[in-house]
Every structure is written in structure tokens, then in C-alpha cells.
């Protein structure tokens, strides 16, 4: 029934060969500089710009086709409102008000995160405290705390700062702690070997070694804070006549001035882009990228 095993084919010795080299002139120089076009296409800034321009064109075309300024103003209309409000200072004032509150909240959040993580790295009990607190509060939307903040601190900056601190604190603390934990044992030992202890050990070894993770926390914290602030300003608007950018949007909506709403949103987006792609990019390029800790 079974077929006889096929005889193993005899090993054929393959002939050796030598040939003349193929003429490679056609391909040009072995190494040549990329053309300007090729370099531009590879450039990140150019790529991003292309994406932006495409989005703007799509927006403009759609808005014109829709032809309903109340629902969806065109890009040109938005830009016109935007530059008008920049020129007359309204939007600048609002933005500065927002950024000032944001800076206070962000700084305070970082400070508290630093204190909490210091406690957490000092002992196992501290780690448990921080991880429990983070597990409880990190998923809690900052904006959900706003009513409570209003009861405690009243209408005004302190309430905004409170919710911003909440949104920054847990993200940064969690990332920093994860970063500290993942510092290699050998690096820790070589720090302790030269007699480093306490704050110097944290400052000279743990923080730089955990920097990629800390930086990620700072970025997330910033995005959370900015988001929370604009949302909170939308909810209760103005304090002592100096409203922020959320209030600017809210006011414009009440006036059914959609172009102004768009220009407010544009400001929010622009600030986000600048912080992310200028400030954080620069920090990354000078630290974690330079050190080869992140590609």
C-alpha cells in the first residue's frame, strides 16, 4: 500500500563560475546627496504642514459648499475673526487669563506630584498610598469635581486651579513612579556606590534615569490641564470680568457668533500645537533623544 520511498536524489555538484562585473554606470554615483525635493518630502515639518494645508482646504471647500455661516463658517471667515480679535486684544487677554490660571495649577500640581512621589519612593507603604490614591482619583474626571470646587472655593480662580491640580497631579505622579521603578538596579547601585543618599540620590540618579517616563507624564498632565481648564471656563465662565478662552467661546455661542466660536477653538488648538511641538519637542531633543533613551 505504501509507496516505496522515493530514492534520495544524488547530490549534483553545481559548477563554479566567475563572471565579468556588470557595468553599474547606469545607476549613477554609489552615494549621492538626496535632491531637495526628496529631502523636503522626508522633513517632518514639511509633512506636518502638508497635513495641515490639506485639512484647511477640505474645511474651506466643505464650508463654502454648505454655505451656512451659522453652522459652519469658512476657514477664511474664521481667520478674519481670529485676526480681528487678536488685533483688538480681546482674544489675547482671554488667552493670557487662561494661561496664567493654567500655569498656577500646573506648577502646583507638579509640586504636589513631586512631594507624593518622594514619599512613595521612600518606603513601600508610601508606594501603596500613592498607587491606591492614583487608582482612585486618576479615572475621576476633573470636571466632575467642579461643582464641589465651587462649593469649597466659590466662583473664581481658586476653583479652576483646584480642578487643574487634580487633572495634573495623578498623571504626573503615576508616570514618575513608574519611571522610578523601572530604573535598572545596576544604575541604582552605581549611584549608591559613590555614597549618594536621599535627595541627592533622587535628583542625580532617579530623576534623570526616569526622565523619559517623567516627560511623558508632564505631556499628559499638560494636555489634561489645558482640556480641563477650557471645559471649566465653559461651565462657569467669568470671574471678576476677566474670563478665559473658554468664556470667550461660551460668550460667542450665546451670540450665535459661530465664527468667533471657531476662532476660540482655533486658539485652543494653536496653543496645544505650540506647547507640544515646540516646547516639549525641544525638551525631548535636548534630553531623552540626545541620551539615546528614546528614539
Amino acid at each position: 500500500m505504501t509507496a516505496p520511498p522515493s530514492p534520495k536524489p544524488a547530490q549534483v555538484r553545481r559548477p563554479e563560475f566567475e563572471v565579468e562585473l556588470t557595468d553599474a554606470h547606469a545607476i549613477g554615483d554609489v552615494e549621492r546627496p538626496l535632491t531637495i525635493t526628496e529631502r523636503l518630502v522626508n522633513n517632518e515639518a514639511v509633512q506636518r504642514l502638508t497635513i495641515l494645508v490639506t485639512l484647511i482646504v477640505v474645511w474651506e471647500v466643505y464650508a463654502r459648499w454648505l454655505n451656512n455661516g451659522l453652522l459652519f463658517p469658512t476657514f477664511t471667515e474664521t481667520i478674519r475673526t481670529f485676526s480681528k480679535d487678536i488685533a483688538n486684544g480681546v482674544l489675547v487677554d482671554r488667552t493670557i487669563t487662561s494661561l496664567r490660571t493654567l500655569a498656577i495649577g500646573y506648577a502646583l500640581g507638579l509640586l504636589l506630584a513631586a512631594v507624593l512621589t518622594t514619599v512613595a519612593v521612600a518606603s513601600t507603604a508610601g508606594t501603596r498610598v500613592l498607587s491606591t490614591l492614583t487608582a482612585m482619583f486618576n479615572p475621576l474626571p476633573a470636571i466632575a469635581l467642579l461643582p464641589l470646587a465651587l462649593i469649597w472655593f466659590g466662583l473664581g480662580t481658586p476653583s479652576l486651579v483646584f480642578v487643574i491640580v487634580h487633572s495634573v497631579l495623578w498623571a504626573v505622579a503615576l508616570n514618575t513612579l513608574i519611571g522610578f521603578r523601572s530604573v535598572p538596579e545596576t544604575l541604582r547601585m552605581s549611584g549608591r556606590n559613590v555614597g549618594l543618599k536621599g535627595a541627592r540620590y533622587v535628583g542625580l540618579i532617579l530623576i534623570p534615569a526616569a526622565f523619559p517616563s517623567i516627560l511623558a507624564g508632564l505631556k499628559i498632565g499638560w494636555a489634561f490641564a489645558w482640556r480641563t481648564l477650557v471645559a471649566a471656563e465653559l461651565v462657569f465662565g467669568v470671574s471678576s470680568r476677566s474670563g478665559g478662552i473658554g468664556w470667550y467661546i461660551f460668550e460667542a455661542r450665546n451670540d450665535l457668533d459661530t465664527a468667533t466660536v471657531f476662532s476660540g477653538l482655533l486658539a485652543v488648538i494653536l496653543i496645544g500645537l505650540v506647547v507640544e511641538s515646540v516646547i516639549f519637542r525641544t525638551i525631548e531633543a535636548r534630553t531623552v533623544n540626545l541620551w539615546g533613551m528614546q528614539r
Binding site: 535598572p184 544604575l187 556606590n193 549618594l196 534615569a209 541620551w291
Partner: protein
């Protein structure tokens, strides 16, 4: 006769894993003298790395005493600079130069200008001058190890602790590094405590070899290996010493088997 620089007496070391209490070494005695190239040799599980960590001051002995220059070892300190097996011991956020400078800077052992000169000198000694301002991630494994050794040497520690420093390197680089270490020793005559699991490396590097048996680590022998280096690998006394250590570690039967395997 020089007096003992490092004295280890009846040292038992234990550490905890999440499930077990592991006894790494049991009542180990040895002493290292000024200028020794003292090698701790043993198979994995003989607690040699743990022993080195204890000398480094990273873990206290359960029993026994460790004394440096007559004073008990309690904490890690720059008089016992350690070179680890892993490449991560360098700080990735510092250049080669800054890495070498770092211990001198934080311990304030040398004046700033002095420290800078010493750093440059020792970097030159390990042949990395042209990589002085490069970050560690751009260096090869052998170069990283050179930086770690340079960093430790620059501090002029009383004793240099080396935990299988060449184990993670390729064979060719390892050989080069062993030669470099020996020629550095010829120039500077520092004291080094060197941990390895390679019999050959122990004989080449060491002037004295402490042979440890595993589970838990106990002293089996202390041997003299002065005068044997790369050039003597083929010589009969090298082979005899290798066989002797082999027998001490694995017993007669294993040795016979090993020889048969070699012949086969």
C-alpha cells in the same frame, strides 16, 4: 609581608526572594592584601556576586564580619568602587567624560580642576580620548566597559570590585580587556577583587584564586596563580592548575568525563 586590606571572616549571607530565604554563602573566610589581584571563582549559585555586593556594602552579612583597613563595612562607599557586568551602570544622560567625572564630583574627593585632569588622563589610559564627549548609547559594549573601569580607577579606590566585568563581551573583546586590565595593573598596582565563573579567566587575571563550592557558597581552596597570563595558556602548569580547580569544583568523576569529552 603586607597586612590584610580586606578581611572577611565567617561571613554568611542570606537574601529573600518573594517565596524563599536563600543562603548564598556560609561562613566564608578570606583576606585580600594590598596589590592583590584576588579572584573569587565558582559556578553559578556559589554566591560569589552576593559576596562581592556584601564587600561593596550593599548587603549586611547575617553572620561574621567584613573589615576594610580594620573598619567594619556598613555602607556602600567610594573607597570600594564597583564595576558591574551590565552596561547600564553608565549614566546615559552623561557623556563619557561626565560619567568618569561624576564620582569625583559628588564625593568632592578631588578639587575640580584636579578631577577634570584625572578624568582626561584616565580616559586616555583606556584609549577613549576621541570618544570623550560621546553619550554611552553610541558606544560598543567593550567601550562602555572601559568607561566603567576608567570611572572606577579615576577614584583611586582602596580596592576595585569587579563583578564578572567581561562576561557580557564577545570573546575577542574579552581577551583584549583582560590584557588591558593586566597592563593597567602593571602600571598602577591597585588592589582588585574580581569575580568570575571562568577558570581560564581566573588564572589569567588572578594572582590568588578563591575557589567556592555552590549551594551554599563555601570556601573550597585558595590557590596561587601568580605569573600565569595569556602567554602561558598552552603551558603545562596552566593545564595542571586548570585541572586542579576543575577537580576542586566538580570532583574526580566529572574531571575524567571532561577529559574524555575533550579527547573525543
Amino acid at each position: 609581608m603586607t597586612s590584610a586590606l580586606l578581611e572577611v571572616k565567617g561571613v554568611t549571607l542570606q537574601y529573600k526572594t518573594p517565596r524563599h530565604l536563600v543562603t548564598a554563602t556560609y561562613r566564608v573566610d578570606f583576606s585580600v592584601h594590598q596589590g592583590d589581584r584576588y579572584v573569587i571563582l565558582g559556578p553559578s549559585g556559589c554566591g560569589k556576586t552576593t559576596l562581592l555586593k556584601a564587600v561593596g556594602g550593599f548587603m549586611p552579612p547575617v553572620e561574621g564580619s567584613i573589615r576594610m583597613n580594620g573598619r567594619p563595612v556598613e555602607h556602600p562607599g567610594p573607597d570600594r568602587m564597583m564595576v558591574f557586568q551590565e552596561f547600564e551602570q553608565l549614566m546615559p544622560w552623561k557623556t563619557v567624560y561626565q560619567n568618569v567625572l561624576f564620582p569625583m564630583k559628588v564625593t568632592k574627593r578631588f578639587a575640580a580642576t584636579d578631577a577634570s585632569e584625572r578624568a582626561n588622563a584616565v580616559i586616555e589610559k583606556v584609549g577613549l580620548t576621541q570618544f570623550r564627549d560621546i553619550y554611552p548609547h553610541m558606544l560598543s559594549g567593550g567601550m562602555k566597559m572601559r568607561v566603567a573601569i576608567a570611572r572606577a580607577m579615576a577614584m583611586e579606590p582602596d580596592i576595585l570590585l569587579m563583578d564578572e566585568p567581561f562576561a557580557a563581551l564577545d570573546a575577542l573583546t574579552r581577551r583584549t580587556m583582560q590584557q588591558e586590565l593586566l597592563s593597567l595593573w602593571d602600571q598602577l598596582r591597585f588592589t582588585v577583587l574580581f569575580v568570575t565563573h571562568s577558570i581560564e579567566e581566573a588564572i589569567i587575571i588572578g594572582s590568588r584564586i578563591l575557589v567556592l563550592s555552590p549551594h551554599p557558597g563555601r570556601v573550597r581552596a585558595e590557590l596561587d596563580a601568580e605569573g600565569l597570563d595569556h602567554n602561558s595558556v598552552g603551558r603545562p602548569e596552566f593545564g595542571i592548575l586548570t585541572n586542579r580547580i576543575h577537580t576542586l569544583l566538580f570532583g574526580e568523576t566529572h574531571q575524567l568525563q571532561a577529559q574524555q569529552e575533550v579527547r573525543a
